[in-house]
Symmetry: C2
Subunit: 375 residues, 2 copies
Amino acid sequence: MTRSSSFPFELLKCDLSTAARRGQLHLPHGIVQTPAFMPVGTQGTVKGLSIDQVVATGAEILLGNTYHLALRPGSDLIAELGGLHRFMGWDRPILTDSGGFQIFSLGDMNRVTEDGATFKSHLDGSTIHLRPEDSIRIQEELGSDIAMVLDHVIALPNSIEALRDAMDRSIRWAARCKEAAVRTDQAKFAIVQGGLDPELRCQCAAKLIEIGFDGYAIGGLSVGEPPEEMYRILDVAAPALPVDQPRYLMGVGRPIDLVEGIARGVDMFDCVMPTRNGRNALAFTANGPLRMRNQCHARDPNPIEADCPCLACRHSRAYIRHLFQADEMLGPTLLSIHNLTFYQRLMQQARTAIENGTFASFLAEHRLRLSGNIS
Amino acid sequence: MTRSSSFPFELLKCDLSTAARRGQLHLPHGIVQTPAFMPVGTQGTVKGLSIDQVVATGAEILLGNTYHLALRPGSDLIAELGGLHRFMGWDRPILTDSGGFQIFSLGDMNRVTEDGATFKSHLDGSTIHLRPEDSIRIQEELGSDIAMVLDHVIALPNSIEALRDAMDRSIRWAARCKEAAVRTDQAKFAIVQGGLDPELRCQCAAKLIEIGFDGYAIGGLSVGEPPEEMYRILDVAAPALPVDQPRYLMGVGRPIDLVEGIARGVDMFDCVMPTRNGRNALAFTANGPLRMRNQCHARDPNPIEADCPCLACRHSRAYIRHLFQADEMLGPTLLSIHNLTFYQRLMQQARTAIENGTFASFLAEHRLRLSGNIS
């Protein structure tokens, strides 16, 4: 820890053969062991799980979605009820995104000007104008431990001019976000944009660092580009960020992407894959995914993973398959629990490997095991 | 306990001013405190709840549906996997119904002959013939603690001739069920039919007692008749049953119906109301039901019931409403947990009232409080 901060990031160990790091991020609602995976709680709930069940997966920090919560039930209502932690009954750290990505992916007819983004709500079609200052105000009302700056997300591939324009705007918006911040008990993270262009990524990182934030995210990846392209950007973007501050790869990803991200120096991840795939009957395992509706599981007395401590793995594969065949809610719930547990165990194994100086072989093993996973 | 039985029913206390009884039913997978409410686990799961969550509601015995489990995944598969307890991960008592009511209510084109019932599966339209002997074989494969005899259920109102015909057939089928029984570690309960005719009910009870069973159910009620009609039948049917054996009122009902049933000497109940209503955003409370989608709950920081220990009541009404407005799975799960906890607490309060000799005032209070509940 070389930089004074209200949200200290302690680097406990750095791997010698890769850029992997083992750290601890100190936040108002607790300490997060990194590398960390954040389950997504879009609407104030990790879909299908009670808070007890989320805790049991090993999660130490959740992600909440500013876009969704601002539209319903409203950040004013959540603030009135004591903030997002109290509202959803989770007393550990929360990171809220800024809404930038959801405006891009969900909002109809989104139109971006220098002032902010105008979009139609996916709920009722009403027109909403969101400025960087609004995003910060909403996130301060939600009371998350980490707020993200509002960024201008554009589709990939795109022209270098469009990428640069969106990136420059994102940087100006980041500065406005920092300026708008009032709460001192909420970390503010900036987002490095620049598409698949290494030079833009480095320029963006440098300018954001100059403004100064409590942590840095790498955004706009895992939006359809081949994984190798994403890794190539991480190879340049991660080293461009301060070594003594947390790095967060947004919206990524498959188990192998997490391992590859850690190898490149990423500390934090979030993704809907474990829960979304769980709801669709796909179970992650150390040997690749299983489609639990498959007939081959119909009479299988074994659990999904014999060494997994989760609630789903107290049951047979036959039972899990039956729940999906019978369209029972417990099926999606149990597989979401299993998949989140799988992701948390993968993070725990990565942390242990970094601590023990065995991350290089951990990486090699997972490249073998997890290649060919669902894309 | 005056009768020797493999499944002893201990009468601990009888109320002096009503017919209410406090007992303990000894079954292969444990002891059930009566009066008892059995949550319904139709397809090998109490809809939306993990087994841990079912245990936390206070339930000591579950109901499983022979009709559903026989069609999917099949009783042979469940037997191969070690029986229904192991399949669903519940190691306490289970009662399975016989399929009679589901054939009546779900099967297309059901046709009953003396041999058995022929119906079309609601899943794939295939024609299935179920004899009393098949129902017992299936329930023995499932391995429940209590099996119900197959009965011939008919619609109400109906002619006295049709009622008598179905009742007589149900009695003959009950005798065939007893004859077909092989397992000695499974109690067999008979079902008293006879519609809304007190005389038929008494005749049916007498004939079933003559054959001899481990317990007796009162069936064919709560199928649309006014509650007073049901209470009137209970007034004659319950006293017609052996005092030293358990009495089970099938498929009933509203909280007030449970209290009225206990007052008439019923020991066991099952009903889908707590879970089905929970999924539809209705919360039971001691002061009547709450519709949780209602706007009046939008900013309410209070729990559904302040003194309720359930998972849902750790949250505000505002949060529960938000979950339903946002169509989140956790809403139905939390309200199912709350409603099952409400039913179990009501049973616990009734048991305590009988023990303390205060059941008469408990009954009077609940007649005041719960009248006007949803019908």
